[in-house]
């Protein structure tokens, strides 16, 4: 078994247990869950919203939602990590759509995204997350660039396939195919590693 896959599963199990305890009103578990996931959710919010202040507000909104709704989390439907990320992205999309205009910073997945993390001491959970971060970046980097860009535009910038098509000048069908192939390839790369 790949030790990295095992670590990820341990991490997922810990997150699921923490969410379960948060659902019972356990503040200590909430604090630990915040420590584990706030950097990831905050980074995502900042990337999508482009402003620190709004990213802070979005993170606070997400974490308070987690506190109130953790008891409704169903581990058979998604991992705790996925649940948290979907929740955060969904809140950011709401905020973007409320703005009405695309005034956010549009940050393409340039070198900045692939730079190594700053050198500092990390806790165990953070190390696992950092490792996952490196794996996701490596997997994304291995995708053909048009596929990668299409996925980023849809996921982070809330662009529809038609909008991406208009922006790139490529046929709608090509955009859709690129996104589908990109997602399947990404799933294969990331899952394959865990299963091996």
């Amino acid at each position: 078994m790949n030790p990295r896959g095992a670590e990820t599963r341990n991490h997922d199990r810990e997150a699921a247990e923490l969410v379960r305890r948060v659902g019972q009103g356990d503040e200590e578990a909430f604090s630990r869950l915040y420590d584990l996931y706030s950097p990831l959710l905050f980074s995502l919010a900042w990337r999508m919203l482009g402003q620190q202040a709004e990213a802070e507000d979005a993170l606070q909104e997400v974490m308070l939602h987690v506190w109130r709704k953790a008891s409704s989390y169903d581990p058979t439907k998604a991992s705790a990590r996925t649940w948290l990320i979907i929740l955060a992205r969904s809140r950011c999309l709401d905020r973007l759509r409320r703005r009405g205009v695309v005034s956010r910073r549009e940050l393409p997945m340039t070198q900045e995204a692939f730079d190594p993390p700053e050198d500092r001491v990390m806790a165990m959970g953070e190390m696992e997350q950092e490792e996952l971060r490196l794996r996701v970046r490596a997997a994304l980097k291995s995708l053909p660039e048009p596929q990668r860009r299409a996925l980023e535009a849809a996921y982070f910038d809330d662009l529809t396939q038609a909008e991406i098509s208009a922006r790139t000048g490529e046929p709608l069908g090509t955009v859709k195919t690129r996104m589908r192939l990109g997602m399947l390839k990404l799933a294969e790369l990331l899952r394959g590693e865990e299963k091996s």
Binding site: E27, F30, S31, Y34, S38, P39, L40, L41, F42, S43, L44, W46, Q52, A53, E56, L59, Q60, M63, L64, K77, A78, S79, R81, T82, I85, I86, A88, R89, L93, R97, R98, G100, M109, E112, A113, D115, P117, Q129, E130, L132, R133, V136, R137, L140, E152, A154, Y155, F156, D158, T160, Q161, K176, M179, R180, M183, L184, L186, A187, L190, R191
Partner: protein, 239 residues
């Protein structure tokens, strides 16, 4: 609200939903890692505790007491007179909260007692605490000229600078604050031993608790302001 329909979905891409969700959520890991400020956790944890349910009478009494408490300061103390003297770029003012966009500047008069220039994406809340005028600087730069005898303070997460008849600038950074006394005297306080700094012509320090303030030296000398700027602010104090 936009009518836009998201089509980055498992149905649209014809991918099994669980596989789509697990994989797409991993894209979140592709962004550069940023840590939220530690004060945010304090804010979130403080928001967890719901108000305990109170009996109806107690609730009514509490509400009445709160109303009196809230109204008293308003009745007894005039509102903080805040005026926008000039601005450049996008400036948002709501009550005492002021936010300027990264390229913008706002020049504010505070009751004829102080002139405050906010810039470099500054976010600040200006409020009165008794006799004290307090500027809570969350981000960016705040250059202040303060009339002697005015009780005035710029507070950051890393400590505060209180005017003792002076012109000074404060910059809130991510892990520390920068303070430059342009002329006059300042009282620095925070999670470190309080102390005064004074200068006839610019002296700057970094506040990075728990260490005591350290001179900025060459790395911070006269950052973000000039004599011309401080002179123009001082002239405005006679408005």
């Amino acid at each position: 609200m936009s009518e836009k329909k998201e089509d980055f979905t498992s149905e649209s891409l014809n991918i099994p939903s669980r596989l789509f969700e697990e994989t797409s959520s991993l894209l979140a890991y592709a962004v550069p890692s940023r840590r939220p400020p530690s004060r945010l956790k304090t804010r979130v944890m403080a928001a967890l505790k719901p108000e305990p349910p109170a009996p109806a009478l107690a609730r009514w009494a509490t509400a009445a007491a709160l109303t009196v408490l809230l109204l008293c300061p308003l009745l007894l103390r005039p509102a903080l007179p805040l005026s926008l003297l000039s601005s450049k770029g996008t400036v948002t003012i709501s009550g005492g909260a002021v936010q300027v966009s990264p390229e913008a500047e706002a020049l504010l008069g505070i009751g004829g007692r102080a002139v405050l220039k906010l810039s470099h994406g500054a976010r600040a809340v200006i409020r009165r605490r008794g006799r004290l005028i307090e500027v809570q600087l969350k981000e960016g730069w705040a250059l202040s000229a303060v009339r002697p005898g005015t009780s005035y303070r710029v507070a950051t997460d890393f400590g505060s600078a209180e005017a003792l008849g002076t012109t000074f600038i404060v910059k809130a950074e991510n892990t520390r604050a920068y303070v430059c006394i342009c002329r006059g005297k300042l009282l620095l306080s925070g999670p470190f031993p309080s102390g005064e700094i004074s200068a006839a012509h610019h002296y700057d320090v970094f506040l990075a608790p728990p260490q005591p303030p350290v001179p900025a030296g060459a790395t911070g000398s006269m950052e973000g302001h000039s004599d011309v700027e401080t002179d123009s602010l001082n002239r405005l104090l006679s408005f």
